[in-house]
Each structure stands twice: as C-alpha cells, then as structure tokens.
C-alpha cells in the first residue's frame, strides 16, 4: 500500500506539473495574442474608419459645392451598414453642419479641431473613436467629415477569444493528463523501486538486495548502478566488520580463560603459602604460650617484655596470614564500600615504626579523626 501511495504521489506530482506548465504557457500565450489582437483590431478599425471618412469626403465634394444636402445625407447614410459607426457629420468650410447621420438620437458627435498641418486626425477614448478628415478639392479645403465610432466588435472578440482559449486549454490539459499517465510509469517507476529497495535494506539490514535497472533511461540507469555499487560496498564492509567482531570475541574469551587460570593458580599459591606458614606459626605460638606460663617468677622484666612482644608479633603474623588468605580469595569475595579512619591507621603504623627504630627521633602530627570512604576488604587497613 505504501508503494502504491508513493507511486501515486510522485506520478501525480509529475502529471500535475505537466498540466500546470501547459496551462500557464497557454494562458500567457492567450494573453499575448489577445493583447496583440486588441491592438490590431483597434488599428484595423481606425484604418477602416479613416478610409470610410476619406471616401465620404470624396463623394461629398460635389454635394458641398452645389449645396446638395440630400446627396450628402444619402452618402452619410451609407454608414448605417457599418456596425461600429454611431454618428457622422459633414461640416462646411465655415464650420456649418451640412449633413448629419446618427444611429440613435443619443449619439452626438463631440467635435474637435483637426491640427492645422494634418488632413486626417483621430482621437480615441477607451472604446470610442472620433475620426476627422478634411474634404479637399483641387487643393482647397471645402469641408470636414467626422465619424464617431464605438468598438462594439471588441466585446465579440473578447468573448470569442475567451471561448477559444478555454476550449484549447481544456483540450490541452486533457491531452497532458493522458500523455502524463502514459509516461509517468516510465519516469516514476524506477524511482519508486529504488526507494522501496532502500526501505527494505534499512528495515532488514539486508545489503544483498539489488535493484534491477530494467529499460529505464540513462540517468536512472546511472542512479541504479550507483545504488547497487553502494549496497555492495556496504555489504562488503558489513561482512568485514562481522568477521573482526568474531575474531575479537574469540581473543577476549581466550584472554579471559587465561586470566581465570592465572587467578586460580595465584589463589592456590597464596592459599598454599598461607597454609604452610600457619603450621610453624602455630607451633611458635604454642611454645611462646608455654614459655610465658612456665617459671614466670624467674624471669626478669626484660624477658617478660620480650615474650609479650613475641606474642603480639605472633598474633599479628596470624592476622597477616589470614588477610593473605582473604586477599587470595578477593576475586570471589569482592570489595565493599566502608568508612575507614585514616588518622587512626596512620597513628598505628607510626607507633610500630617507632618501636622498631627507637633511636630515630621523628615528630609527626596526625589527626586522630580523618575519615574517608573507600572500597576494600574487611582487614584491608591492616595491610597498609
């Protein structure tokens, strides 16, 4: 359904684009032709009316010279067959009306003087035209003929052109739609197929898909070839990436196994060492206990102090071995976030150093309450 809707979309766009272009071109052509025709019609009407004015002038010469108003009137009446003429008049040299013609009683000629150097003049106002022509006989002006006309044919021209243009517009748009529907498959189908292939590749990550260019035109062939080449490149890189990933995972598992084995060996070693040390230390501790509790009165203070220190060292040694065992199991025990008093730990270490080397006089000030949060085992402080 999406494919068909996309196809309709791009095809419809192409079709409507063709129709729009043809419509605009036709309208512009129509407007141009109409403007040209309007001007041409106006000029043709003016030329026709000036010709009629001159003919009437020529035919009225004898009527004016022999004061024959009836003949002049009959000559003017011939203008009744001219559709555009509203009124006409012949004036004598003394500017006296000699003969008049009017299509209706409301048609009155608004006279205007003809410029001195001209024998013919015309004035236009919208659709109204006034023609003035001097009647000259043997080089002398004997009168003037005026014709007032209205471009009635202009409305007919406008309606006729509008009808013709509308009909042509409809026919051309129909043909454009028909031709567009024929050609839109050729233009739109390859693009739709490419987009569909791209969508499948994106959705299913299947870079082995390819688009067949078919019988499409050269630009589309170039596009499809480029698209297929791009897919091949992506497929090749994807394959190489997958291989690298597999290799890496294998290496990691190997290293992990080696590390686990090394840890186990180290743990076994530490356990063995601690276990082996604990035996002799228990023996020393037992002997120390026996010595401390036998013949106690015969020993001096010095001996008693030395035995006390030996007992303390044995206890510390025992704790040290226990911590060593715990350290060997630290991978399985894990670290915990505990609060440690660093000041107390430092003071203990300093006292031990002072007893070991009493000849050194060092003054060190340690804050008794120096708390901190750290991850460590249960007896980590003693290892320091």
């Amino acid at each position: 359904m999406k494919t068909s809707s996309r196809q309709r979309s791009i095809a419809a766009r192409l079709t409507w684009m063709n129709v729009l272009v043809i419509g605009i071109a036709l309208i512009l052509a129509y407007v141009s032709f109409f403007a040209y025709n309007l001007i041409a019609y106006r000029e043709a009407t003016i030329n026709s009316l000036t010709g009629e004015a001159q003919i009437i002038g020529e035919n009225s010469v004898s009527a004016i010279l022999f004061d024959d108003r009836a003949t002049a009137q009959a000559t003017l009446s011939a203008l009744s067959s001219s559709r555009d003429v509203d009124a006409a008049a012949i004036y004598t040299q003394q500017n006296v009306p000699f003969a008049l013609y009017a299509r209706s009683s409301t048609d009155i000629i608004q006279l205007r003087p003809i410029p001195a150097k001209l024998t013919l003049a015309y004035w236009t106002h919208w659709e109204s035209i006034l023609i003035g022509s001097r009647i000259v006989f043997q080089g002398k002006q004997i009168g003037i003929v005026y014709i007032q006309a209205h471009l009635y044919g202009l409305h007919v021209q406008i309606v006729r052109y509008a009808a013709i243009a509308g009909a042509i517009l409809l026919v051309c748009m129909g043909v454009a739609l028909l031709v567009g529907s024929i050609f839109r498959r050729m233009l739109a189908q390859p693009i739709v197929s490419i987009s569909e292939t791209a969508r499948m590749v994106t959705r299913y990550r299947d870079y082995s898909l390819r688009f067949s260019p078919g019988e499409s035109y050269s630009e589309m062939q170039l596009l499809t070839v480029a698209f297929n080449e791009m897919l091949a490149e992506i497929q090749q890189r994807d394959k190489a990436l997958a291989q690298s990933k597999d290799k890496l995972e294998l290496r990691v598992s190997e290293r992990t196994a080696e590390l686990v084995a090394a840890n186990k060996e180290l743990e076994a070693f530490s356990y063995t060492v601690a276990h082996d040390l604990r035996g002799p230390l228990d023996t020393i501790s037992g002997i120390n206990y026996i010595i401390q509790h036998s013949e106690e009165q015969s020993r001096d203070d010095r001996s008693r102090q030395m035995l006390g220190r030996l007992g303390t060292s044995i206890t510390e040694m025992t704790n040290l071995i226990d911590d060593l065992l715990n350290l060997s199991r630290s991978t399985s025990i894990g670290l915990h976030l505990v609060q440690q008093n660093i000041g107390l730990l430092a003071s203990t270490i300093l006292e031990r150093l002072a007893e070991a080397e009493p000849e050194r006089q060092v003054e060190i000030t340690v804050h008794k309450k120096l708390l901190c949060q750290c991850r460590c085992g249960p007896h980590a402080g003693r290892h320091a």
Partner: protein, 179 residues
C-alpha cells in the same frame, strides 16, 4: 423723442438687413458659384486644354457677380467675358445664357454647335431646346438638370460627381430623376 427713436430704429433695421443680406448668398451669387464649379467637374479634349473662359451672352447681372467673385477668389482665375453674339463665344469653356436670350435660345445653341462649349441657362425648356445644363429653383434653392445627349454631341466629359447632384439627367439612354 419720438422721431429720434424712429430714426434710430430705422438705422438699426437697415444695418441688420444689410448684414443678413451679406451673410445669405443671392440667387446670382449662387448661380455664379455654380458656373465656377461646373468647370471643375468637366474635362475638355486635349485640343481645348487650357481654356477656362466663362462667357455671358446678352445683358445679365450675373456678369458683375462673377467679376466680384473673381476678385475675391484669386485661386480660380476664370476670365469673364460678355458677348452679344453666340458665335463669338465658341472658344469659351462655359457659356451662360441669361433671361435676355430666351427669345433666341435655339439660334444661339445652333451657333455654338460643333464647339466644345458647356451651355448653361436658367431659361425654361432649355434642355428640350438642346442646352446642356439648366438651372432650376426648387424649394428656394438653386438646382440644376443635365442633358447628356447634348453633352455627348461634344467632346466634353462631365464628372459622375456632377451628375450625382443633378436634379435629373436627360438622355436617350437613360433618364434619372431625383425626388
């Protein structure tokens, strides 16, 4: 006061009458203008090219009007001549025969026969007697009629424009009358 008012009124009416008389052409003035204009609508044979005399037969007041028109209209230099005998007017372009010639029109026309002269008159029955153009008075206007048969016996050619404004045209081939 009364005679003075009458005198002023009389003078005013006299001046007004003279003014109106000047504005409206007289019958002789119209006829004179017609005689001038007839020449503009006719063609002579090559042998008579250049002749443009307007001749008056007999005594007629139109001669003076023609002279006055000639002096006022410098463009149309038509020599005006007066003859008592028609035979003397054979070289004229147009010959006008006034009322004084009504008694011997046929004789005058016979004397001009064979010459390329346009004969014009206001004498009744002029066309029937063989004249070419007869001036008529219709509805207080001067009109004219044409006898094409008489014109056709000469080498003169009249313009169709002239025939168009004629009251009627007599000829053996056609007779056109205007309402």
């Amino acid at each position: 006061v009364s005679p003075l008012v009458f005198s002023c009124l009389f003078v005013f009416l006299f001046v007004l009458q003279n003014t109106c008389a000047e504005e409206r052409p007289t019958e002789d003035g119209v006829k004179a203008a017609y005689l001038y204009n007839f020449g503009k609508f006719m063609r002579h044979p090559e042998a008579d090219a250049g002749k443009n005399d307007i001749c008056i037969l007999g005594r007629n007041t139109i001669a003076k009007v023609l002279e006055d028109s000639k002096s006022s209209d410098k463009g149309d230099a038509h020599p005006i001549r007066n003859y008592d005998k028609a035979a003397d007017a054979r070289n004229c372009e147009i010959v006008y025969m006034g009322a004084s010639e009504s008694e011997h029109i046929e004789k005058d026309l016979a004397a001009l026969q064979g010459s390329n002269v346009l004969t014009v008159s206001d004498v009744p029955q002029f066309l029937e007697k063989g004249g070419m153009i007869q001036l008529l008075l219709q509805n207080n206007r001067i009109r004219f009629a044409v006898n094409l048969d008489a014109v056709g016996r000469t080498n003169i050619q009249l313009s169709s424009e002239l025939l168009k404004v004629a009251v009627y045209v007599n000829s053996s081939a056609r007779t056109e009358d205007k309402p």
